[in-house]
Symmetry: C2
Subunit: 294 residues, 2 copies
């Protein structure tokens, strides 16, 4: 296997290239809906899709076979960004350096494009059953829903919004970031492993790894909002603080947040060392996350 | 079997009673999200859930076994109502005679509750695999996504919005109502049949029936908006006309729409007569839909 940076730069584009084939195709009667769906799914590193592929490969399944599931994760992720950007939540006109979906297509179209992407993600998870066992595919559907819905990402998003302007609270911060960010990344690691028929202990290691890297991803995201370069990050810097968000630097201070990032990176590396086969992708990914500039 | 009116009044409450058990449970950190999800899923006749049950029974499967799927249809239906009512679409403060979700809980909570209900619907479809074959369950996930997403309900919703104030257009009207309303009702009939292992010809009959009844449901909905009693219907009457919506009375006139309702009822009855076993529920449902007052 290769360094995570090389893998992401090689395989991210593969996921991006496959994605349009799994997106739902809205009819012309639905006007801009199709264009909005495509707009919303452009850009990004495709980390979640690459994680699905690599988890499958780690447990012996050809990563090309899990492309529908890899694309499902990208669709769900895109959907949550579209809805987060809406005026009633973050009211953000900029996403990945381009107009957000509602800035480009209007509010109701963005709302419905997000809905269509959530539903499209599940359609892709079902298409996965063409190439893997139906029981594994349906298990992924179930977990994906649990990790992304009210008991996961959506619940974390709601907690994130309503905790704005509350005093810094370490427990609440952890709840928000586990649910809003870490669970989707963890679910991507688990999904690839489940589809590959990973044994229970391997799946547990993948879970530990995914949660640690997922939290690490959010800690560095919080740090970039303080220390990042707006032109590189692709969105306004300092927005978390302005919005009164619960963040790692806000709760732990800058050096405390950096220390937490190192701790999570070590936790992920320890889990990675227990995975079967070549583990260089998994062991090098935490450093890449810590050192990213966007 | 029994008359559709009796079945709905007996089985609708069974679906309503089972539904909370399949709703996702948001944590207390997510504030009102859990209450908003529950608020959004109250009320209604539970027609779609009852259709799932009856389609299963028609093809020999105990309807109690398909309750997760029945509840999934109710969740998705509730989610679309929550999002439709939002300020950027219908801006409706009233739903089923009660405050709409955003009127009761605010806009971002309603947006996220709708998202959580869409995702929760798929979770329930996956839970279905505990009691039926995983291949049948995953087929239902796939169809449910196709019938509700950009190629179905969501696409129809977008077409409905953007066609407001356009001149009456029979083809566009049909597109909207097939996608926005008929496909979910048809999918409910198909889902029960698929889970019961219906043969291909039975599934086709169920499809023909579901599309006819689904369109009939929308024609009578349009008619109620013209001729209904606001106190009974539970939402403002005349709203379609005010919003410049494409409607059956708008395209075909009042008597033309009533004629179309009779034609669709006859089409559904013809399909019902080909179904196996006792068909009284199926044959009597079209009349019930035509004669409803809400």
């Amino acid at each position: 296997m290769l360094q995570a940076s090389q893998v992401l730069s090689e395989e991210g584009p593969l996921v991006a290239e496959a994605l349009p084939g799994y997106l739902p195709r809205a009819d012309r009667e639905a006007g801009d809906l199709d264009a909005a769906i495509r707009h919303a799914t452009q850009g990004g590193k495709r980390l979640r899709g690459v994680l699905v592929r690599h988890a499958a490969a780690t447990f012996g399944l050809d990563p090309e076979l899990v492309m529908p599931t890899a694309c499902a994760f990208e669709m769900l992720h895109a959907a949550t960004l579209v809805h987060d950007d809406l005026p009633c939540i973050d009211d953000s006109d900029l996403r990945r350096g381009r107009p957000s979906c509602h800035a480009a297509f209007g509010e109701f179209t963005a709302l419905l494009a997000g809905d269509a992407l959530i539903i499209g993600a599940f359609e892709a998870l079902a298409v996965q059953a063409e190439t893997v066992d139906a029981a594994a595919a349906i298990q992924v559907v179930r977990e994906f829903a649990q990790f992304t819905g009210a008991t996961g990402l959506i619940g974390g998003e709601q907690a994130d919004i309503i905790s704005e302007d509350l005093p810094p609270d370490a427990d609440l911060l952890r709840y928000i970031h586990i649910n809003k960010t870490a669970k989707l990344i963890c679910a991507a690691c688990r999904a690839g492993a489940i589809l590959a028929g990973a044994p229970a202990d391997g799946l547990q290691t993948m879970t530990d790894y995914g949660m640690a890297v997922g939290l690490l991803f959010q800690v560095t995201d919080d740090l970039l909002d303080v220390t990042g370069d707006e032109a590189v990050v692709g969105k306004p810097v300092g927005a978390d603080d302005e919005a009164g968000k619960q963040t790692y630097p806000g709760v732990w201070g800058l050096s405390g947040a950096q220390e937490e990032a190192r701790r999570l990176a070590a936790e992920a590396a320890a889990a990675a060392a227990e995975l079967p086969g070549e583990t260089e992708f998994w062991t090098s990914l935490p450093d890449l996350v810590v050192n990213r500039d966007k």
